[in-house]
Amino acid sequence: MGKIITVTDLCKTYQQKGNSNEVLRNVSFEMEEGEFVSVMGPSGSGKSTLLYTVSGMDDLTSGSVCFNGRELSNMKKKEISELRLLEMGFIFQQMYMMKKQCVLDNIILPGYQAKRDRAQVNKRADELMESLGIKDLANRQISEVSGGQLQRACICRALINEPKVVFADEPTGALNSKAAGEVMKELRKVNLSGTGIMMVTHSVRVAAQSNRVIYLVDSNIMGEIILGRMQSDEEIATRDQKLNSWLMEQGW
């Protein structure tokens, strides 16, 4: 399998009223197609920034980000937007949605924006909602569904254009442990079907379900641990332990 993301010597510095804040310093890593990578690290270590720069939502200061064979720094803003529309999906901790639109309209929005065949998009949205168990909520307003349901709707939206990679910034951060477990189950299913996932999380239990965990401290990658693909729910406990002890070593 090929590399879907190659990051080399990525630096990101925020300039602020004369102060400069170096949030990422010479970060390099790779992600295989269809891989499930977690990013962990203390608060303020630059995890979200990494996600934003890799997905082209934020400019990088120096270094290179190559997504699916294309160098982001050589692309126009408009092309990056298009790339994001067609090949990336996003899930946030807060379930950001267009508040005035119903659940289904939110889900299909990127599909319609990509000018895909609308009947096909509607069909895919139906299938996605079916498989994530929120089909009955299609016509509900955003304010009328629970946090866990909304996060599943966000997953549907992220998947509507069949992206190569889904970026998830603390997708379970706002959920209780039961809802978090369900969302993770869905993400694993998504990953099984071939979509790569790059996820930021604070939860060991959540990160333990991914193939590989990258540990970010003070603007840089401290180390990584390969856990391999999770096969069944029974593995959680052992993976959890393994990751936990590794994190302890890193100074978690």
Binding site: Y52, M57, F92, K100, N139
Partner: protein, 551 residues
């Protein structure tokens, strides 16, 4: 009449301005309040009473009003003097002191408004619980239903258009003021332009008894001298001689001549009312009739409606006219009295001096002052143009005016004032609409940063985000233009009818020039608004992914 029309129009624009000012203050205050809700919430949590923040809040705006007002007076003094001076020296100019007093009064008015609004706006605060204010979760309108339209049921509507439309429908209140301002702006411009077109129009000359003007000959000095020399020899008036000459030259054109005389109407109570009497060979059935039937018999007459109305004369009444015509002719001496039956009222601007039109049969005073009912070319289409050209050959191209040129000449005074009104109001209204678009749009963009960040994270380009903003303004301006056009045909027609009725014209209606009213003006207004919007949208670029936090 001029002063009257002018003051009506200026009052209209004044009202418009006041409305806009009120709306804008209210809107910006609500927007600012939303921004500060959080801090206010904290303040309340600490225990400050609500009255004190109303002042806290109002103080800033009062300071703005005072500074703005002072600047306005300083800058406005020369500007208003300049504008007033354009209306001609005939108008009495207010003194500097008056302008300053008016300026100060208006600033005080605005300050009072701002204080009032602060109190009103801040009342909202009392309705919000402290916790809600801190969490910023009282923005109930954000959870509107998008006006009930559903993207997934749309086959072709673009997402950007959908976002714009559902936003307008779902949060209508937020846009109502902008809609009203646009509509009023459209209405005012349409009203001024259409009134001008309808008044500076050959049709309007009917109300000074000229029912048709195909041409008008302004005799050159040379020609005029010739005719004056011939006058005594031929014992005819100039129009009759011109008619003869044109006929001899084989041109199919003629004057419908008439005569008018000063005379008096003898009222039953013995009063004598000065009036003018018109008669002659013209086709008086072509005048504009308010009521009744065209006088045909020798002793029948029509009278201008507004004077008849104020003198209490009714259809069928008999009036006694004290004729004052050439004493040597026809044995009718100055002061002789004749009785006429009023069979019709005509729409005519008589400025309070009644006009009496006698039937074609009445021919006892051929030598009154000479005038004409109409100038007529007896041909149609291209032949009419050909005849007109031949008149130009005969009298000199500079000397022969066409219908519109003649109308402008007759109504020169109005024509100038209307041109000026059109310019001043057009510029003022457009400027205000552009300013409002900028102001509202800036606030919308600031408020919608989170939504913008979300859309960008989904892969919307800057262009796509801008498109939905443009669509929103486009929808609002299209709706405003439509409503404005409808209002012009209803309320506008009504106002103009009332206005004209007071001048003695009862059947007046605006005659919209199609391209001007339905294409050029809408395009101008929408163009100005959309261009402003486009420049304002530069700020969209600044939306950062981290703005998404406040969705």
């Amino acid at each position: 009449m001029l002063g009257y029309i002018l003051s009506v129009f200026i009052s209209l624009i004044g009202l418009f301005l006041i409305l806009i000012v009120i709306m804008t203050i209210r809107f910006t205050m609500i927007a600012a309040l939303k921004e500060e809700e959080c801090e206010i919430g904290v303040l309340r949590a600490i225990g400050a009473d609500s009255f004190s923040f109303r002042w806290l809040f109002a103080e800033k705006y009062i300071a703005f009003a005072v500074i703005g007002g002072a600047l306005g007076i300083v800058a406005g003094l020369p500007l208003s003097k300049y504008v007033l001076s354009m209306f001609g020296p005939g108008n009495i100019m207010p003194s500097d002191a008056e302008i300053v007093v008016i300026g100060i009064l208006s600033v005080l008015f605005i300050i009072a408004l701002i204080i009032g609004f602060s109190m009103l706006v801040m009342r909202r605060i009392n309705k919000i619980s402290v916790v809600d204010a801190i969490r910023g979760e009282n923005r109930a309108e954000r959870f509107g239903r998008g006006g009930g339209i559903r993207l997934h049921k749309r086959r072709i509507m673009s997402p950007a258009f959908f976002i714009a439309l559902s936003d307008i429908l779902g949060r209508f209140k937020r846009y109502a003021f902008l809609l009203v301002a646009y509509t009023l702006g459209v209405l005012i411009i349409l009203f001024v332009v259409n009134t001008k077109n309808s008044v500076i129009n050959p049709e309007f000359l009917k109300y000074s008894l000229t029912y048709q003007t195909d041409f008008f000959i302004e005799l050159s000095d040379e020609k005029l001298n010739d005719y004056i020399k011939r006058m005594s020899a031929e014992n005819k008036n100039i129009n009759e001689m011109i008619n003869n000459d044109i006929r001899k030259a084989g041109i199919k054109a003629h004057y419908d001549n008439d005569h008018y005389n000063s005379m008096g109407i003898l009222m039953q109570n013995g009063l004598e009312i000065n009036s003018t009497e018109w008669s002659g060979s013209g086709d008086i059935s072509q005048l504009s009739y308010h009521e009744g039937s065209v006088p045909v018999k020798e002793n029948e007459a029509a009278m201008s409606w507004s004077s008849a109305n104020s003198l209490g004369i009714q259809l069928g009444d008999e009036i006694t006219l004290k004729m004052s015509i050439d004493p040597e002719k026809d044995g009718i001496y100055e002061g002789s009295k004749e009785k006429f039956k009023i069979t019709a009222f005509i729409n005519a601007m008589d400025s309070g001096v009644p006009i009496v039109v006698l039937s074609q049969k009445y021919d006892k005073n051929p030598n009154g002052s000479m005038s004409y009912w109409a100038t007529i070319i007896d041909a149609d289409g291209s032949e009419k143009e050909e005849q007109f050209r031949r008149l130009e050959e005969m009298f000199g191209p500079e000397q022969v005016l066409d219908s519109m040129e003649y109308t402008k000449l007759c109504l020169a005074e109005y024509s100038q004032i209307f041109d000026l009104l059109e310019l001043v109001m057009g510029v003022a209204v457009l400027f205000i609409l552009m300013l409002m678009t900028y102001l509202y749009s800036s606030i919308f963009i600031a408020e919608e940063m989170p939504e913008t960040a979300l859309q960008k994270s989904l892969g919307f380009t800057n262009g796509a985000v801008k498109a939905s903003h443009i669509f929103r303004i486009l929808i609002l301006s299209v709706v405003s233009v439509i409503v404005g056009e409808i209002l012009l045909q209803t309320a506008g027609q009504f106002i103009v009818r009332v206005l004209m009725e007071s001048l003695g014209i009862t059947n007046f209606s605006l005659m919209p020039e199609f391209i001007m009213s339905f294409a050029l003006i809408p395009a101008l207004i929408m163009g100005a608004v959309l261009i402003t919007e486009w420049f304002t949208l530069g700020k969209i670029k600044k939306a950062d992914i981290r703005n998404i936090k406040d969705v």
